[in-house]
């Protein structure tokens, strides 16, 4: 779910850069306020590497395979560090693998960072009382929110002459096509956080 170059008007791409830069600035500010931010770099980097590697591998969701997005999980596990981690991941993907694009880096950042932060919020709010619900919600919800943002950007950006009926149909097909991904991520995050809570709670932020 990466927005490629050239689809949306340049104003939107620039606005995306501005919003993402703002988000990164807020995140870095939050991170600097932590006791020893530098000591956390190796941990964040190693976890990010795992997320990156895992999202490159295909996971079976019949009838096809999908690539996980993992934005919700990153939000839960990395906290505000998720924002710089996602931006770095997107940049590397755009340049090294050709997923996404250089001009749309800002927009793609929003598509993933906002869901990650929402997932973090959800986990912090209800993770203590209903951890399974929060985990599924963080995983599946992040995908749903990302799809929503993606669709909104594409619809605003596409040529104005597009007729409304076709527009609605396209959005519906697109959302339906991604429903399995949302469910798959929900299940994965649910199982994963359960395992971590059981055997390595140190890895989880205080939920």
């Amino acid at each position: 779910m990466h927005l490629p170059d050239g689809i949306v008007p340049v104003e939107m791409a620039l606005a995306g850069y501005a919003c993402s830069a703002g988000l990164v600035a807020v995140a870095l500010h939050r991170i600097k306020a932590r006791p020893d931010p530098q000591a956390e770099i190796p941990r964040v980097a190693m976890l990010t590497t795992v997320f990156f590697a895992a999202s490159l591998a295909a996971v079976p969701v019949p009838p096809t395979t999908v690539h996980l997005m993992l934005a919700g999980l990153m939000g839960v596990m990395l906290g505000w560090f998720a924002v710089p981690a996602i931006m770095v991941g997107l940049f590397l993907q755009a340049v090294l693998f050709g997923h996404g694009g250089l001009t749309t880096l800002g927009l793609n950042g929003l598509i993933l960072c906002l869901p990650a932060l929402l997932a973090l919020r959800l986990w912090q709010q209800i993770g203590g009382r209903w951890p399974d619900l929060a985990a599924f919600g963080a995983g599946a919800g992040a995908v749903v929110v990302a799809i929503a943002i993606f669709a909104a950007i594409v619809l605003t950006g596409l040529p104005a002459e597009l007729d409304a009926r076709a527009e609605r149909a396209a959005v519906q097909i697109f959302a339906l096509a991604h429903l399995p991904l949302a469910l798959a991520e929900g299940v994965i995050v649910l199982v994963l956080l359960r395992v971590l809570r059981r055997i390595e709670p140190r890895l989880l932020p205080d939920g």
């Binding site: 490629p4 170059d5 050239g6 689809i7 008007p9 340049v10 791409a13 990164v24 870095l28 991170i31 000591a39 770099i41 190796p42 941990r43 964040v44 980097a45 190693m46 976890l47 590497t49 795992v50 990156f52 590697a53 895992a54 591998a57 996971v59 079976p60 969701v61 019949p62 596990m77 710089p84 981690a85 931006m87 770095v88 940049f91 590397l92 755009a94 340049v95 090294l96 050709g98 694009g101 250089l102 001009t103 596409l158 040529p159 002459e161 597009l162 007729d163 076709a166 798959a184 299940v187 994965i188 649910l190 199982v191 994963l192 395992v195 971590l196 055997i199 390595e200 140190r202 890895l203």
Partner: protein
């Protein structure tokens, strides 16, 4: 031009990409594409670009098949319920031209660098050290983690692991194991970094921009502005 510094290449790529993205009319599109081709040739990246063009080409093909059918009011041809429309065709051509030109330029300028030079370039552009260190460590360990995940998934299959959607929980287990190991590894990594005096970041210090870099940047900025100006006046 192959010696252009990473930092200058990043600026060039951004300036040209945004210049191309700003094009709204079909008139300057041939010029934009010609510019993209010349950048590819000047940086001697023809083969890399061709290889990396496959995925964008598919996307463009999809767009040109769909947009002319669903978008616009001027019908050019009608076969049964399917109508080919002018505005859709124009929109498709515009998007395709911009997309391919931007991808060609970014690939030619950036994908030919070693990933590590690329990050050094980012550092020189004052991207925060926290992010460039994340990028460097991620690049450094990506291969290893990918191999580990692949091995674990083979081990799972060899022990009769399920297929299809019932394998999803197993994938969560593999991922959890991987994260636990990443945590342990990061503790060792931090000790190693500290013992060798880690302080200001992993990326190399700035190398200054040479006259050649400045010339290239100025040239690219003028070209991008020229393209946008032509596009708005024509």
């Amino acid at each position: 031009m192959a010696e252009t510094s990473p930092r200058a290449r990043l600026i060039l790529a951004l300036v040209l990409a945004f210049g191309f993205a700003a094009v709204q009319g079909l008139a300057v599109l041939p010029l934009v594409m010609a510019l993209a081709v010349s950048v590819v040739l000047v940086f001697g990246a023809g083969r890399v670009v061709l290889r990396r063009m496959r995925a964008p080409m598919l996307l463009v093909l999809g767009l040109t098949l769909v947009l002319p059918l669903i978008s616009g009011s001027t019908v050019l041809a009608q076969i049964g319920p399917v109508a080919l429309r002018l505005e859709g065709l124009q929109a498709a051509a515009l998007i395709a031209g911009r997309l391919l030109s931007i991808v060609a330029v970014t690939v030619a300028l950036l994908a030919t660098l070693s990933p590590f030079d690329l990050v050094a370039g980012l550092r020189a552009l004052r991207v925060p050290a926290l992010m460039t260190d994340l990028a460097l460590l991620t690049l450094r360990y990506l291969d290893e983690v990918t191999t580990e995940l692949r091995r674990a998934s083979i081990a799972r299959s060899l022990r009769g692991g399920k297929r299809g959607w019932r394998a999803l929980p197993d994938h969560a287990l593999l991922l959890a194991t991987s994260l636990i190991r990443a945590q342990a590894r990061s503790e060792r990594l931090w000790a190693a970094m500290r013992l060798r005096g880690y302080g200001t970041g992993l990326a190399l210090p700035n190398s200054p921009l040479h006259a050649r870099d400045w010339a290239a940047i100025t040239g690219a900025a003028l070209l991008a502005l020229g393209v946008v100006w032509l596009d708005r006046t024509l």
